[in-house]
Symmetry: C2
Subunit: 190 residues, 2 copies
């Protein structure tokens, strides 16, 4: 059986990554990699669905065993991607989608030449600012910080294999599917 592809996806906040991946996941042919974390579950979050919730001692033991493809600490909590479930699905011929921020993606890039890196970008920073403003859920200060963060992340886009611009959702979903199909059609040897 042909191995699945590990597809690493990053996007600045507000680029519609979740919506695109939600559509793509409906194709029923992907395994969505669930991150492990030491933070406490929030209301409604289920273990194994939103995160795999681990005690810190367990997390650290797994780090020591080299069980993580990447891991990092944010705001006092550890987050990481376990290698074993990914490998198991790839070996079964299933593609694995790994949604991760740019620093995590760069950690994986150096280890996994077999992975495909997809960056989802807004049509422009101005469009991103408008979208975040129109949501009406964030303060001007938070929006400004998000846009500045997006600009820093966009600078890393050339490190990815592909860039999908999310202007019209259906086009972005079609582009994502075209990338996966083309990757399936690649000859193995070259």
């Amino acid at each position: 059986m042909k191995r699945g592809k590990l597809i690493v996806v990053s996007a600045p906040s507000g680029c519609g990554k979740g919506t695109i991946l939600g559509q793509v996941m409906k194709d029923g042919r992907y395994y969505y990699s669930v991150s492990a974390t030491t933070r406490r579950p929030r209301e409604g979050e289920q273990d194994g669905v939103h995160y795999r919730f681990l005690e810190r001692a367990e997390f650290e033991r797994l780090v020591a065993e080299g069980a993580f493809l990447e891991h990092a600490e944010f705001c006092g909590n550890c987050y990481g991607t376990l290698t074993a479930p990914i490998e198991s699905h790839l070996a079964q011929g299933q593609h694995v989608i790994l949604e991760i921020e740019v620093q995590g993606a760069m950690q994986i890039r150096s280890q996994r030449p077999d992975a495909v890196f997809v960056f989802i970008a807004p049509p422009s920073l101005e469009t991103l600012r408008e979208r975040l403003t129109n949501r009406g859920t964030e303060t001007a200060e938070v929006i400004a910080e998000r846009v500045a963060q997006a600009e820093r992340e966009l600078a890393l886009m050339p490190q990815y294999d592909y860039c999908v611009v999310n202007d019209v959702l259906e086009d972005a979903v079609a582009d994502f599917r075209a990338i996966v199909r083309a990757e399936e059609l690649k000859t193995e040897q070259r």
Copy 2:
């Protein structure tokens, strides 16, 4: 303006390459590279459409000038691909389709790391044999030689970037389009 992609396409005889490319050309976004040749035009063949017909002295002068991306002699006639028209269309942002046999493709591969190499394959040699037999236009001997030739060409498939299996025509055309779209979405730098 973003440069177009040079798309080099090879396929064993009888794989439906002409039909697939005929469908793809209807998209109206490709320039189809026309080969130059020293052979005489056959009935109905137009200069600049089927081939660019050249006198041998002119062909040899162009070879000496380095005007060909690749060239070869078959059965006493010279055939070749002129670089200038390809470059001109690529510079205008248009994709160029270059249909060529495997030896010509291998010549181009070493010179053009920017080109995309697509191999069109039959579902199996047995299917190819059946298709050629069902056409009813070739002798058993010619069919056997074609299948043997296809087998030799298939051995070079790993040298191509992508392989499209022409089982169902519509799927093969969709696969070709997915490859081109994915190539368009590639980040330039990596």
